[in-house]
């Protein structure tokens, strides 16, 4: 691309600091959307909420009844203080279910989950998911109050939206 000639301002004339700005170019709309659109472009997943004193057995029952892969553990201020996921069940519960089924979620959950802001870009949220190995990321506002949840399934649905409608397997 030919570089634009920059006109030198006259003495005392206002100089626009962005006069040389050239917007980033992307190969396609999908790349642009991932890098520039914020996480709200992906509809939030429905999510289950629980208090930290819920028992492990009740949380598993809740996940099974609602067909959800995780429960967000909330404090009284509506902040996400932990996540109890299928992976936690596999790693920390399955082997000795009888011993842990009556324990509180706070003993077993993954505490202080990595979160995203609703103003973060999709790229950042994907980065968080891949780097941390998370399938779900809670989305919070500036006061760390839970706004919603972004999961891998919704992200895949978002990617698929960019394919032609007539693309068939």
């Amino acid at each position: 691309m030919a570089k634009r000639e920059r006109r030198q301002p006259e003495p005392g004339e206002f100089e626009d600091p962005l006069s040389n700005y050239e917007p980033k170019e992307y190969e396609d709309e999908l790349e642009r959307s991932l890098v520039e659109d914020i996480v709200e472009a992906v509809p939030f997943d429905d999510h289950l909420k629980a208090r930290s004193d819920m028992t492990v057995a009740d949380a598993i029952q809740l996940m099974n009844d609602n067909n959800f892969a995780c429960v967000v553990v909330m404090d009284e201020e509506h902040r996400a203080v932990g996540i109890f996921s299928e992976r936690d069940v596999l790693v920390r519960v399955a082997d000795h279910y009888e011993d842990v089924k009556g324990r509180r979620l706070s003993d077993i959950m993954t505490a202080d989950p990595v979160t995203a802001y609703s103003s973060d870009t999709l790229a950042r949220v994907l980065n968080v998911m891949v780097s941390g190995g998370f399938r779900h990321v809670p989305v919070v506002d500036q006061d760390n109050k839970l706004q919603g949840m972004v999961g891998v399934r919704k992200v895949t649905a978002y990617l698929q939206k960019h394919f032609p409608q007539n693309y068939q397997i």
């Binding site: 992307y26 190969e27 396609d28 709309e29 999908l30 790349e31 991932l34 890098v35 598993i60 029952q61 996940m63 099974n64 009844d65 892969a69 299928e86 992976r87 069940v89 596999l90 790693v91 519960v93 399955a94 082997d95 279910y97 009888e98 089924k101 990595v114 979160t115 995203a116 802001y117 103003s119 870009t121 790229a123 950042r124 994907l126 980065n127 968080v128 998911m129 891949v130 780097s131 941390g132 190995g133 399938r135 500036q142 891998v152 399934r153 992200v155 895949t156 649905a157 990617l159 698929q160 960019h162 394919f163 693309y167 068939q168 397997i169």
Partner: protein, 156 residues
């Protein structure tokens, strides 16, 4: 080529595939879970004597088992696995894989060779890793867990 074109042209073989966790349908659920835990993988593939996939046990089925039959961890996997194992080949496009997972609501897909023998596992996370690998450098280096609220961020 842009990311979208790459998704059409690159194949399942270009993804970072997971090494399979395989069990016999006669193995116990307990053993399947132990192998999944050891491999840090959310699914195990039950295979027949020829190595072809005949079932899958995953974390979702584990949740169901603990909620409905918590005493059944010692039972054979065949009693609790799903027998609808969706497969792809390494030569299939990533777009096709995404469509399969979306249309059938599957998180895991078994990769098979031309003889139908299970060779690897892929899924939603593999696709996400692929997408992240294609991000422009400026995005990829953004630190994770930089949870600084807008009013605390530096700059204008």
């Amino acid at each position: 080529m842009g990311l979208k074109d790459n998704i059409y042209h690159d194949t399942v073989g270009d993804l970072s595939l997971r090494k399979l966790v395989t069990v016999s349908p006669d193995d116990t659920v307990e053993r399947a879970c132990a192998l999944m835990r050891q491999a840090r993988l959310g699914a195990a593939i039950a295979i027949d004597d020829a190595g072809r996939p005949v079932g899958m046990f995953n974390e979702k089925l584990l949740i169901r088992l603990l909620a409905e039959q918590p005493g059944a961890m010692g039972e054979p996997v065949r009693n609790h696995m799903t027998v609808n194992v969706v497969t792809v080949k390494k030569s299939h496009s990533i777009a096709k894989l995404i469509n399969i997972m979306r249309q059938r609501q599957y998180r895991w897909v078994c990769v098979v060779d031309d003889k139908g023998v299970a060779v690897a596992l892929t899924g939603l996370r593999g696709v996400m890793e692929y997408v992240v690998d294609h991000f422009p450098r400026s995005v990829k280096v953004e630190p994770i867990q930089s949870n600084i609220s807008i009013d605390q961020r530096e700059g204008a």
